[in-house]
Protein backbone atom coordinates (compact mmCIF):
# COMPACT_ATOMS: atom_id res chain seq x y z
CA UNK A 1 0.00 0.00 0.00
CA UNK A 2 1.35 3.35 -0.97
CA UNK A 3 1.76 6.18 1.51
CA UNK A 4 -0.98 8.69 2.13
CA UNK A 5 -0.94 11.79 -0.08
CA UNK A 6 0.32 14.22 2.54
CA UNK A 7 -0.85 17.37 0.73
CA UNK A 8 -4.45 16.13 0.72
CA UNK A 9 -6.77 19.09 1.41
CA UNK A 10 -3.81 21.12 2.71
CA UNK A 11 -3.76 23.51 -0.26
CA UNK A 12 -6.72 25.62 -1.30
CA UNK A 13 -7.92 27.68 -4.23
CA UNK A 14 -8.73 31.12 -2.83
CA UNK A 15 -9.50 33.27 -5.85
CA UNK A 16 -9.92 33.29 -9.60
CA UNK A 17 -10.54 35.33 -12.72
CA UNK A 18 -11.79 34.32 -16.14
CA UNK A 19 -11.36 36.54 -19.20
CA UNK A 20 -13.91 36.78 -21.98
CA UNK A 21 -13.49 33.84 -24.36
CA UNK A 22 -13.49 35.13 -27.94
CA UNK A 23 -12.46 33.91 -31.37
CA UNK A 24 -9.79 36.61 -31.73
CA UNK A 25 -9.13 39.06 -28.93
CA UNK A 26 -8.55 42.68 -29.90
CA UNK A 27 -5.43 42.75 -27.76
CA UNK A 28 -2.44 40.54 -27.16
CA UNK A 29 -2.73 37.30 -25.24
CA UNK A 30 -0.10 38.64 -22.84
CA UNK A 31 -2.15 41.73 -22.02
CA UNK A 32 -5.30 39.66 -21.62
CA UNK A 33 -3.53 37.22 -19.31
CA UNK A 34 -1.85 39.91 -17.24
CA UNK A 35 -5.17 41.65 -16.58
CA UNK A 36 -6.79 38.31 -15.76
CA UNK A 37 -3.97 37.44 -13.37
CA UNK A 38 -4.23 40.80 -11.60
CA UNK A 39 -7.97 40.29 -11.24
CA UNK A 40 -7.44 36.83 -9.74
CA UNK A 41 -4.92 38.16 -7.22
CA UNK A 42 -7.33 40.94 -6.20
CA UNK A 43 -10.18 38.44 -6.01
CA UNK A 44 -8.13 36.43 -3.53
CA UNK A 45 -7.67 39.51 -1.36
CA UNK A 46 -3.96 39.67 -2.12
CA UNK A 47 -1.55 42.01 -3.84
CA UNK A 48 0.92 41.04 -6.62
CA UNK A 49 3.93 41.39 -4.32
CA UNK A 50 2.51 38.55 -2.22
CA UNK A 51 2.46 36.15 -5.17
CA UNK A 52 5.69 34.22 -4.79
CA UNK A 53 4.92 31.31 -7.09
CA UNK A 54 3.84 31.09 -10.73
CA UNK A 55 2.81 27.91 -12.55
CA UNK A 56 1.33 27.27 -15.96
CA UNK A 57 1.33 24.95 -18.95
CA UNK A 58 2.00 26.64 -22.28
CA UNK A 59 0.98 24.08 -24.89
CA UNK A 60 -0.43 25.66 -28.05
CA UNK A 61 -2.38 22.62 -29.22
CA UNK A 62 -2.03 23.09 -32.97
CA UNK A 63 -0.73 20.69 -35.59
CA UNK A 64 -0.04 23.68 -37.84
CA UNK A 65 3.06 25.78 -38.29
CA UNK A 66 2.33 28.71 -35.98
CA UNK A 67 5.23 30.38 -34.24
CA UNK A 68 5.29 30.03 -30.48
CA UNK A 69 6.04 33.50 -29.12
CA UNK A 70 5.92 34.18 -25.39
CA UNK A 71 3.35 36.87 -24.61
CA UNK A 72 1.78 36.54 -28.06
CA UNK A 73 0.73 32.94 -28.72
CA UNK A 74 1.56 31.52 -25.28
CA UNK A 75 2.18 33.05 -21.84
CA UNK A 76 4.80 31.36 -19.71
CA UNK A 77 5.11 31.52 -15.94
CA UNK A 78 8.30 33.56 -16.34
CA UNK A 79 6.61 36.06 -18.66
CA UNK A 80 3.79 36.60 -16.21
CA UNK A 81 6.05 36.69 -13.14
CA UNK A 82 8.27 39.33 -14.73
CA UNK A 83 5.24 41.62 -14.96
CA UNK A 84 3.53 40.81 -11.66
CA UNK A 85 6.29 40.05 -9.21
CA UNK A 86 9.74 39.78 -10.80
CA UNK A 87 11.31 38.01 -7.83
CA UNK A 88 9.15 34.95 -7.15
CA UNK A 89 10.50 32.04 -5.16
CA UNK A 90 9.11 29.55 -7.70
CA UNK A 91 8.15 29.74 -11.37
CA UNK A 92 7.62 26.63 -13.48
CA UNK A 93 5.71 25.15 -16.38
CA UNK A 94 4.07 21.79 -16.95
CA UNK A 95 5.03 20.31 -20.30
CA UNK A 96 2.81 17.24 -20.69
CA UNK A 97 -0.74 16.77 -21.88
CA UNK A 98 -3.53 17.28 -19.36
CA UNK A 99 -2.23 20.74 -18.53
CA UNK A 100 -4.77 21.52 -15.81
CA UNK A 101 -4.16 18.48 -13.58
CA UNK A 102 -0.45 18.74 -14.41
CA UNK A 103 -0.02 22.39 -13.52
CA UNK A 104 -2.32 22.17 -10.52
CA UNK A 105 -0.21 19.29 -9.20
CA UNK A 106 2.92 21.43 -9.49
CA UNK A 107 1.21 24.34 -7.75
CA UNK A 108 -0.17 22.18 -4.93
CA UNK A 109 3.24 20.62 -4.40
CA UNK A 110 4.91 24.03 -4.35
CA UNK A 111 2.54 25.32 -1.67
CA UNK A 112 2.53 22.12 0.38
CA UNK A 113 6.32 21.97 0.41
CA UNK A 114 6.70 25.62 1.28
CA UNK A 115 8.46 26.42 -1.98
CA UNK A 116 5.96 29.27 -2.29
CA UNK A 117 3.13 30.56 -0.14
CA UNK A 118 0.80 32.12 -2.72
CA UNK A 119 0.92 30.50 -6.15
CA UNK A 120 -0.79 31.93 -9.18
CA UNK A 121 -1.71 29.35 -11.80
CA UNK A 122 -2.90 30.44 -15.20
CA UNK A 123 -3.79 29.02 -18.57
CA UNK A 124 -3.76 31.20 -21.65
CA UNK A 125 -5.06 29.89 -24.97
CA UNK A 126 -4.53 31.54 -28.34
CA UNK A 127 -6.25 31.20 -31.69
CA UNK A 128 -3.64 32.16 -34.28
CA UNK A 129 -4.65 33.81 -37.56
CA UNK A 130 -5.12 31.41 -40.44
CA UNK A 131 -5.85 27.68 -40.41
CA UNK A 132 -5.43 26.30 -36.90
CA UNK A 133 -4.09 22.88 -37.90
CA UNK A 134 -3.16 23.44 -41.53
CA UNK A 135 0.43 23.23 -42.72
CA UNK A 136 2.28 23.63 -46.00
CA UNK A 137 5.24 21.57 -44.79
CA UNK A 138 6.86 19.66 -47.63
CA UNK A 139 8.69 17.22 -45.41
CA UNK A 140 8.42 15.72 -41.94
CA UNK A 141 11.12 14.63 -39.55
CA UNK A 142 10.99 12.79 -36.24
CA UNK A 143 7.77 11.13 -35.17
CA UNK A 144 5.62 12.72 -37.85
CA UNK A 145 7.66 11.07 -40.65
CA UNK A 146 5.73 7.89 -39.77
CA UNK A 147 2.27 9.41 -40.19
CA UNK A 148 1.98 12.72 -42.08
CA UNK A 149 3.34 11.54 -45.47
CA UNK A 150 0.77 8.73 -45.28
CA UNK A 151 -2.07 11.23 -44.77
CA UNK A 152 -2.53 10.64 -41.03
CA UNK A 153 -2.19 14.07 -39.45
CA UNK A 154 -3.82 16.21 -36.80
CA UNK A 155 -6.28 15.64 -33.97
CA UNK A 156 -9.38 15.19 -36.16
CA UNK A 157 -7.97 12.06 -37.79
CA UNK A 158 -6.80 10.94 -34.36
CA UNK A 159 -10.24 11.20 -32.81
CA UNK A 160 -11.97 9.81 -35.92
CA UNK A 161 -10.03 6.57 -35.54
CA UNK A 162 -10.52 6.38 -31.77
CA UNK A 163 -14.22 7.11 -31.85
CA UNK A 164 -15.00 4.85 -34.79
CA UNK A 165 -13.37 2.02 -32.87
CA UNK A 166 -15.80 2.84 -30.05
CA UNK A 167 -18.80 3.12 -32.40
CA UNK A 168 -18.03 -0.19 -34.09
CA UNK A 169 -17.52 -1.99 -30.80
CA UNK A 170 -20.37 -0.55 -28.76
CA UNK A 171 -22.89 0.70 -31.32
CA UNK A 172 -22.94 4.35 -30.23
CA UNK A 173 -25.28 6.57 -32.24
CA UNK A 174 -24.98 10.15 -33.48
CA UNK A 175 -27.95 10.95 -31.27
CA UNK A 176 -25.87 10.06 -28.21
CA UNK A 177 -23.18 12.56 -29.20
CA UNK A 178 -25.91 15.09 -29.94
CA UNK A 179 -26.99 14.86 -26.29
CA UNK A 180 -23.43 15.70 -25.23
CA UNK A 181 -22.94 18.64 -27.55
CA UNK A 182 -26.40 20.13 -26.98
CA UNK A 183 -25.97 19.89 -23.19
CA UNK A 184 -22.53 21.56 -23.32
CA UNK A 185 -23.81 24.36 -25.54
CA UNK A 186 -26.91 24.87 -23.39
CA UNK A 187 -24.78 25.36 -20.29
CA UNK A 188 -22.17 27.41 -22.15
CA UNK A 189 -24.88 29.68 -23.53
CA UNK A 190 -25.63 30.77 -19.95
CA UNK A 191 -22.07 31.90 -19.22
CA UNK A 192 -21.38 35.60 -19.79
CA UNK A 193 -17.70 34.98 -20.66
CA UNK A 194 -18.29 32.13 -23.13
CA UNK A 195 -17.73 32.40 -26.86
CA UNK A 196 -21.11 30.64 -27.15
CA UNK A 197 -22.89 32.93 -24.67
CA UNK A 198 -26.54 33.22 -25.64
CA UNK A 199 -26.13 30.66 -28.44
CA UNK A 200 -27.46 27.23 -27.53
CA UNK A 201 -27.64 24.47 -30.14
CA UNK A 202 -30.44 22.08 -31.03
CA UNK A 203 -30.01 18.38 -31.71
CA UNK A 204 -31.36 19.02 -35.20
CA UNK A 205 -28.64 21.59 -35.86
CA UNK A 206 -26.02 19.17 -34.59
CA UNK A 207 -27.27 16.28 -36.70
CA UNK A 208 -27.35 18.44 -39.83
CA UNK A 209 -23.59 19.12 -39.66
CA UNK A 210 -21.40 17.29 -42.18
CA UNK A 211 -18.61 14.97 -41.13
CA UNK A 212 -14.97 16.07 -41.11
CA UNK A 213 -13.35 12.78 -40.11
CA UNK A 214 -16.16 10.23 -39.80
CA UNK A 215 -17.72 9.82 -37.27
CA UNK A 216 -16.44 13.21 -36.05
CA UNK A 217 -18.16 16.35 -37.29
CA UNK A 218 -17.33 20.01 -36.82
CA UNK A 219 -19.49 20.46 -33.72
CA UNK A 220 -17.80 17.53 -31.98
CA UNK A 221 -14.67 19.70 -31.75
CA UNK A 222 -14.20 22.69 -29.47
CA UNK A 223 -13.62 25.95 -31.29
CA UNK A 224 -10.20 27.66 -31.06
CA UNK A 225 -10.31 30.86 -29.02
CA UNK A 226 -8.34 33.54 -27.26
CA UNK A 227 -8.89 33.39 -23.53
CA UNK A 228 -7.18 33.26 -20.16
CA UNK A 229 -8.04 32.14 -16.66
CA UNK A 230 -6.09 32.38 -13.41
CA UNK A 231 -6.43 30.91 -9.93
CA UNK A 232 -4.62 31.61 -6.68
CA UNK A 233 -3.56 28.76 -4.38
CA UNK A 234 -2.27 28.92 -0.84
CA UNK A 235 -2.20 26.86 2.33
CA UNK A 236 -5.43 25.82 4.04
CA UNK A 237 -4.28 27.78 7.12
CA UNK A 238 -3.63 30.99 5.18
CA UNK A 239 -6.90 30.51 3.26
CA UNK A 240 -8.91 30.96 6.45
CA UNK A 241 -7.95 34.65 6.54
CA UNK A 242 -8.90 35.37 2.91
CA UNK A 243 -12.28 36.64 1.70
CA UNK A 244 -13.73 33.64 -0.15
CA UNK A 245 -14.63 30.18 1.04
CA UNK A 246 -11.56 28.08 0.14
CA UNK A 247 -11.74 25.02 -2.08
CA UNK A 248 -9.16 22.43 -1.10
CA UNK A 249 -7.38 20.13 -3.53
CA UNK A 250 -7.92 16.63 -2.21
CA UNK A 251 -5.86 14.86 -4.83
CA UNK A 252 -4.73 14.72 -8.41
CA UNK A 253 -3.74 12.04 -10.88
CA UNK A 254 -2.39 12.02 -14.39
CA UNK A 255 -2.37 9.20 -16.93
CA UNK A 256 0.20 6.47 -16.69
CA UNK A 257 2.76 6.54 -19.46
CA UNK A 258 0.70 4.63 -22.00
CA UNK A 259 2.02 2.22 -24.62
CA UNK A 260 4.23 3.99 -27.16
CA UNK A 261 2.34 4.51 -30.40
CA UNK A 262 2.54 6.45 -33.60
CA UNK A 263 2.05 10.19 -33.04
CA UNK A 264 -1.62 11.03 -32.40
CA UNK A 265 -2.61 7.37 -32.48
CA UNK A 266 -5.00 6.70 -29.61
CA UNK A 267 -6.25 3.10 -29.78
CA UNK A 268 -9.34 2.71 -27.60
CA UNK A 269 -7.85 -0.09 -25.50
CA UNK A 270 -4.79 2.05 -24.70
CA UNK A 271 -7.02 4.86 -23.45
CA UNK A 272 -9.15 2.66 -21.24
CA UNK A 273 -6.28 0.56 -19.85
CA UNK A 274 -4.28 3.59 -18.75
CA UNK A 275 -7.47 5.43 -17.80
CA UNK A 276 -8.33 2.78 -15.24
CA UNK A 277 -5.03 3.39 -13.47
CA UNK A 278 -5.57 7.15 -13.65
CA UNK A 279 -8.84 6.72 -11.74
CA UNK A 280 -7.32 4.31 -9.21
CA UNK A 281 -4.54 6.76 -8.45
CA UNK A 282 -7.02 9.60 -8.14
CA UNK A 283 -9.12 7.78 -5.52
CA UNK A 284 -5.99 6.82 -3.61
CA UNK A 285 -4.67 10.39 -3.62
CA UNK A 286 -8.00 11.97 -2.69
CA UNK A 287 -8.88 9.40 -0.06
CA UNK A 288 -12.37 9.10 -1.44
CA UNK A 289 -14.19 7.32 -4.19
CA UNK A 290 -16.62 8.35 -6.87
CA UNK A 291 -19.65 7.80 -4.63
CA UNK A 292 -18.37 10.50 -2.25
CA UNK A 293 -18.11 13.16 -4.96
CA UNK A 294 -21.02 15.56 -5.33
CA UNK A 295 -20.19 17.02 -8.75
CA UNK A 296 -18.22 15.48 -11.63
CA UNK A 297 -17.12 17.66 -14.56
CA UNK A 298 -15.82 15.64 -17.50
CA UNK A 299 -13.61 16.87 -20.33
CA UNK A 300 -15.13 17.36 -23.76
CA UNK A 301 -12.57 18.94 -26.11
CA UNK A 302 -13.81 16.25 -28.47
CA UNK A 303 -17.33 15.15 -27.61
CA UNK A 304 -16.55 11.39 -27.43
CA UNK A 305 -14.13 12.05 -24.57
CA UNK A 306 -17.22 12.50 -22.38
CA UNK A 307 -18.08 8.81 -22.84
CA UNK A 308 -14.49 7.73 -22.20
CA UNK A 309 -14.17 9.76 -18.99
CA UNK A 310 -17.54 8.56 -17.65
CA UNK A 311 -16.35 5.00 -18.22
CA UNK A 312 -12.81 5.49 -16.93
CA UNK A 313 -14.10 7.07 -13.71
CA UNK A 314 -16.60 4.25 -13.25
CA UNK A 315 -19.72 6.37 -13.64
CA UNK A 316 -20.93 3.59 -15.93
CA UNK A 317 -19.48 0.33 -17.27
CA UNK A 318 -16.98 0.45 -20.11
CA UNK A 319 -18.83 0.76 -23.42
CA UNK A 320 -21.95 2.27 -21.88
CA UNK A 321 -21.10 5.97 -21.76
CA UNK A 322 -23.19 6.53 -24.86
CA UNK A 323 -26.20 5.01 -23.07
CA UNK A 324 -25.50 6.92 -19.86
CA UNK A 325 -25.91 10.35 -21.48
CA UNK A 326 -29.25 9.55 -23.16
CA UNK A 327 -32.74 10.58 -22.11
CA UNK A 328 -31.67 13.68 -20.19
CA UNK A 329 -29.52 11.88 -17.64
CA UNK A 330 -26.81 14.58 -17.83
CA UNK A 331 -29.33 17.44 -18.17
CA UNK A 332 -28.33 20.18 -15.71
CA UNK A 333 -31.94 21.36 -15.60
CA UNK A 334 -33.35 18.03 -14.57
CA UNK A 335 -33.58 17.31 -10.83
CA UNK A 336 -31.58 14.27 -9.87
CA UNK A 337 -29.61 14.17 -13.11
CA UNK A 338 -25.80 14.01 -13.28
CA UNK A 339 -24.81 17.40 -14.78
CA UNK A 340 -21.31 16.43 -15.95
CA UNK A 341 -21.20 19.34 -18.42
CA UNK A 342 -22.53 22.02 -16.09
CA UNK A 343 -19.37 24.03 -16.84
CA UNK A 344 -20.31 24.18 -20.50
CA UNK A 345 -17.02 22.39 -21.07
CA UNK A 346 -14.83 23.15 -24.02
CA UNK A 347 -17.70 22.62 -26.43
CA UNK A 348 -19.76 25.28 -24.67
CA UNK A 349 -16.98 27.78 -23.85
CA UNK A 350 -14.35 27.41 -26.55
CA UNK A 351 -10.95 25.69 -26.48
CA UNK A 352 -10.03 26.57 -22.89
CA UNK A 353 -8.39 23.18 -22.28
CA UNK A 354 -9.78 21.98 -18.98
CA UNK A 355 -10.27 25.42 -17.47
CA UNK A 356 -14.09 25.29 -17.54
CA UNK A 357 -14.16 22.03 -15.58
CA UNK A 358 -11.75 23.37 -12.94
CA UNK A 359 -13.61 26.68 -12.76
CA UNK A 360 -17.02 25.08 -12.30
CA UNK A 361 -15.73 22.85 -9.50
CA UNK A 362 -14.22 25.88 -7.78
CA UNK A 363 -17.34 28.02 -8.16
CA UNK A 364 -19.74 25.32 -7.00
CA UNK A 365 -17.71 24.17 -3.98
CA UNK A 366 -16.97 27.74 -2.92
CA UNK A 367 -20.61 28.75 -3.31
CA UNK A 368 -19.77 31.41 -5.91
CA UNK A 369 -21.68 30.05 -8.92
CA UNK A 370 -24.42 32.68 -8.71
CA UNK A 371 -27.58 31.75 -10.59
CA UNK A 372 -26.05 28.37 -11.44
CA UNK A 373 -25.25 27.54 -7.82
CA UNK A 374 -26.37 24.06 -6.80
CA UNK A 375 -26.96 23.04 -3.24
CA UNK A 376 -24.98 20.46 -1.32
CA UNK A 377 -21.76 20.52 -3.37
CA UNK A 378 -18.97 19.84 -0.87
CA UNK A 379 -16.77 17.73 -3.15
CA UNK A 380 -16.11 17.87 -6.88
CA UNK A 381 -13.97 16.32 -9.62
CA UNK A 382 -12.65 17.86 -12.84
CA UNK A 383 -11.08 16.08 -15.81
CA UNK A 384 -8.84 17.22 -18.62
CA UNK A 385 -7.66 15.72 -21.91
CA UNK A 386 -8.00 11.95 -22.30
CA UNK A 387 -8.04 9.31 -19.55
CA UNK A 388 -4.67 7.95 -20.75
CA UNK A 389 -2.72 11.15 -21.40
CA UNK A 390 -4.62 13.65 -19.29
CA UNK A 391 -5.72 13.57 -15.70
CA UNK A 392 -8.18 14.68 -13.07
CA UNK A 393 -8.46 16.51 -9.75
CA UNK A 394 -10.69 16.13 -6.69
CA UNK A 395 -11.71 19.12 -4.55
CA UNK A 396 -13.24 19.45 -1.11
CA UNK A 397 -14.82 22.24 0.92
CA UNK A 398 -13.23 20.84 4.08
CA UNK A 399 -9.59 21.45 4.99
CA UNK A 400 -7.43 18.48 5.77
CA UNK A 401 -5.89 17.69 9.09
CA UNK A 402 -2.29 18.62 9.65
CA UNK A 403 0.03 15.95 8.30
CA UNK A 404 2.60 16.90 10.93
CA UNK A 405 0.22 16.12 13.78
CA UNK A 406 -1.05 13.07 12.02
CA UNK A 407 2.37 11.51 11.76
CA UNK A 408 2.69 11.76 15.55
CA UNK A 409 -0.56 9.94 16.21
Amino acid sequence: MSARFRARDRVAIVGYAQSPVVRHADRSLGALTLDTARAAVADAGLTPDQIDGFVTGTLLPTAGEHAVVDGVSVVSADWLAARLNPHPRYAAGFSGLGQIPGLMAMAVNAVASGAAEHVLVHRALHNPAGSYHGTSAGEFRGGLQWTAPQGFFGPLAMMGLTYNEYVQRYGASREALAEVVVEARKNGARLPWSHWSGRPLSAEQYLAEPMLADPIGRLDCDIPVDGAAAFVLTTAERARDLPHRPVHVSGYASGAPPRRRLPAHWPLDDIMAAGATTADRLWAAAGMGLDEIDLVQVYDGFSPLVFLWLEALGRCPVGEGHHYVRDGRIDSDRPGADPVLLSGGSLGNGRMHGVPQLLECYLQVSGRAGARQRSGIATALSCHSSPHLGGALVYSAEPGTSPVHESRV
Binding site: G151, L262, L268
Partner: protein, 142 residues
Protein backbone atom coordinates in the same frame (compact mmCIF):
# COMPACT_ATOMS: atom_id res chain seq x y z
CA UNK B 1 -4.89 25.22 -59.42
CA UNK B 2 -2.01 22.80 -59.43
CA UNK B 3 -2.04 20.54 -56.44
CA UNK B 4 0.97 20.68 -54.19
CA UNK B 5 3.23 17.71 -53.76
CA UNK B 6 2.53 15.47 -50.79
CA UNK B 7 5.00 15.86 -47.94
CA UNK B 8 7.90 13.44 -47.81
CA UNK B 9 9.49 11.64 -44.86
CA UNK B 10 13.02 12.70 -43.96
CA UNK B 11 14.96 9.57 -42.94
CA UNK B 12 17.20 9.61 -39.88
CA UNK B 13 19.64 7.08 -38.47
CA UNK B 14 16.88 4.92 -36.99
CA UNK B 15 14.39 5.21 -39.85
CA UNK B 16 16.68 5.00 -42.89
CA UNK B 17 16.46 1.18 -43.25
CA UNK B 18 12.64 1.36 -43.17
CA UNK B 19 12.45 3.98 -45.92
CA UNK B 20 15.09 2.22 -48.00
CA UNK B 21 12.98 -0.94 -47.97
CA UNK B 22 9.74 0.99 -48.49
CA UNK B 23 11.19 2.48 -51.67
CA UNK B 24 11.40 -1.13 -52.91
CA UNK B 25 7.80 -1.69 -51.70
CA UNK B 26 8.89 -3.90 -48.84
CA UNK B 27 7.38 -3.34 -45.40
CA UNK B 28 9.78 -3.78 -42.52
CA UNK B 29 9.43 -3.58 -38.76
CA UNK B 30 12.30 -2.99 -36.37
CA UNK B 31 13.56 -6.12 -34.64
CA UNK B 32 15.49 -5.74 -31.40
CA UNK B 33 18.76 -7.68 -31.61
CA UNK B 34 18.61 -8.46 -27.90
CA UNK B 35 15.08 -9.85 -27.51
CA UNK B 36 13.79 -10.29 -31.07
CA UNK B 37 10.60 -8.28 -30.48
CA UNK B 38 9.24 -6.26 -33.40
CA UNK B 39 8.39 -2.61 -32.92
CA UNK B 40 7.24 0.35 -34.98
CA UNK B 41 8.47 2.97 -35.12
CA UNK B 42 11.92 2.19 -33.69
CA UNK B 43 12.96 4.08 -30.57
CA UNK B 44 16.23 4.69 -28.77
CA UNK B 45 15.47 1.88 -26.33
CA UNK B 46 13.55 -1.35 -26.87
CA UNK B 47 10.01 -1.10 -25.47
CA UNK B 48 9.91 -4.83 -24.83
CA UNK B 49 13.20 -5.63 -23.08
CA UNK B 50 14.47 -2.17 -22.19
CA UNK B 51 17.74 -2.62 -24.07
CA UNK B 52 19.52 0.66 -24.57
CA UNK B 53 21.49 -0.88 -27.42
CA UNK B 54 18.74 -2.63 -29.38
CA UNK B 55 20.68 -2.61 -32.71
CA UNK B 56 17.38 -2.72 -34.58
CA UNK B 57 17.35 -4.60 -37.86
CA UNK B 58 14.72 -3.91 -40.51
CA UNK B 59 12.81 -7.20 -40.62
CA UNK B 60 10.66 -7.71 -43.74
CA UNK B 61 7.06 -8.66 -42.94
CA UNK B 62 4.37 -9.72 -45.39
CA UNK B 63 2.16 -6.75 -44.50
CA UNK B 64 -1.06 -8.61 -43.81
CA UNK B 65 -3.30 -7.46 -41.03
CA UNK B 66 -6.81 -6.65 -39.91
CA UNK B 67 -8.61 -3.35 -39.58
CA UNK B 68 -9.16 -2.23 -36.00
CA UNK B 69 -10.69 1.12 -36.93
CA UNK B 70 -11.01 3.58 -39.77
CA UNK B 71 -12.04 7.14 -40.52
CA UNK B 72 -13.00 9.01 -43.66
CA UNK B 73 -10.92 12.16 -44.01
CA UNK B 74 -12.99 14.91 -45.63
CA UNK B 75 -10.82 17.92 -44.82
CA UNK B 76 -7.05 17.84 -45.22
CA UNK B 77 -4.59 19.94 -43.26
CA UNK B 78 -1.65 18.78 -45.39
CA UNK B 79 -0.46 19.87 -48.83
CA UNK B 80 -1.03 17.47 -51.69
CA UNK B 81 -4.11 15.68 -50.38
CA UNK B 82 -6.88 17.98 -51.64
CA UNK B 83 -7.38 15.97 -54.82
CA UNK B 84 -7.59 12.74 -52.85
CA UNK B 85 -10.50 13.79 -50.61
CA UNK B 86 -12.42 12.05 -49.27
CA UNK B 87 -10.01 9.26 -48.37
CA UNK B 88 -10.04 6.49 -45.82
CA UNK B 89 -7.44 5.95 -43.12
CA UNK B 90 -7.25 2.49 -41.59
CA UNK B 91 -5.81 1.52 -38.22
CA UNK B 92 -4.27 -1.90 -38.86
CA UNK B 93 -3.17 -4.61 -36.47
CA UNK B 94 -0.39 -6.53 -38.23
CA UNK B 95 -0.62 -10.31 -38.34
CA UNK B 96 3.12 -10.61 -37.74
CA UNK B 97 2.78 -9.21 -34.22
CA UNK B 98 -0.71 -7.96 -33.27
CA UNK B 99 0.42 -5.30 -30.82
CA UNK B 100 2.07 -3.45 -33.70
CA UNK B 101 -0.42 -1.03 -35.24
CA UNK B 102 0.08 0.98 -38.42
CA UNK B 103 -2.13 3.75 -39.80
CA UNK B 104 -2.30 4.44 -43.51
CA UNK B 105 -4.60 5.18 -46.40
CA UNK B 106 -6.93 2.48 -47.71
CA UNK B 107 -6.52 2.68 -51.47
CA UNK B 108 -9.88 1.07 -52.28
CA UNK B 109 -11.73 4.38 -51.96
CA UNK B 110 -14.28 5.82 -49.54
CA UNK B 111 -17.06 3.36 -50.42
CA UNK B 112 -15.09 0.19 -49.80
CA UNK B 113 -16.95 -2.21 -47.50
CA UNK B 114 -15.17 -2.08 -44.15
CA UNK B 115 -15.79 -3.61 -40.79
CA UNK B 116 -13.73 -4.28 -37.71
CA UNK B 117 -11.55 -7.24 -38.59
CA UNK B 118 -11.57 -6.72 -42.37
CA UNK B 119 -8.35 -8.25 -43.75
CA UNK B 120 -5.97 -5.89 -45.49
CA UNK B 121 -2.50 -6.07 -46.96
CA UNK B 122 0.13 -3.43 -47.35
CA UNK B 123 0.47 -1.47 -50.58
CA UNK B 124 2.79 1.40 -51.38
CA UNK B 125 2.29 4.87 -52.77
CA UNK B 126 5.25 6.25 -54.72
CA UNK B 127 5.61 9.90 -53.77
CA UNK B 128 8.92 10.82 -55.44
CA UNK B 129 11.99 9.18 -56.89
CA UNK B 130 13.11 6.65 -54.34
CA UNK B 131 10.37 7.58 -51.85
CA UNK B 132 7.34 5.37 -51.19
CA UNK B 133 5.05 5.27 -48.16
CA UNK B 134 2.96 2.35 -46.91
CA UNK B 135 -0.80 2.21 -47.41
CA UNK B 136 -3.29 -0.65 -47.45
CA UNK B 137 -5.76 -2.44 -49.71
CA UNK B 138 -8.56 -4.82 -48.82
CA UNK B 139 -7.47 -8.46 -49.01
CA UNK B 140 -9.29 -11.76 -49.31
CA UNK B 141 -9.87 -13.43 -45.99
CA UNK B 142 -7.14 -16.03 -45.57
Amino acid sequence: MTSARRPLPVPDALSAPFWEAAARHVLTLSRCSDCGTLTHPPNVACDACGSTDPRFTAAPVDGRGVVRSWTVIRQSFLPGFADLLPYVLVDVELAEQPDVRLVGRLLDGPDAPLKTGSPVRVAFEDLADGVAVPAFTLAEAS
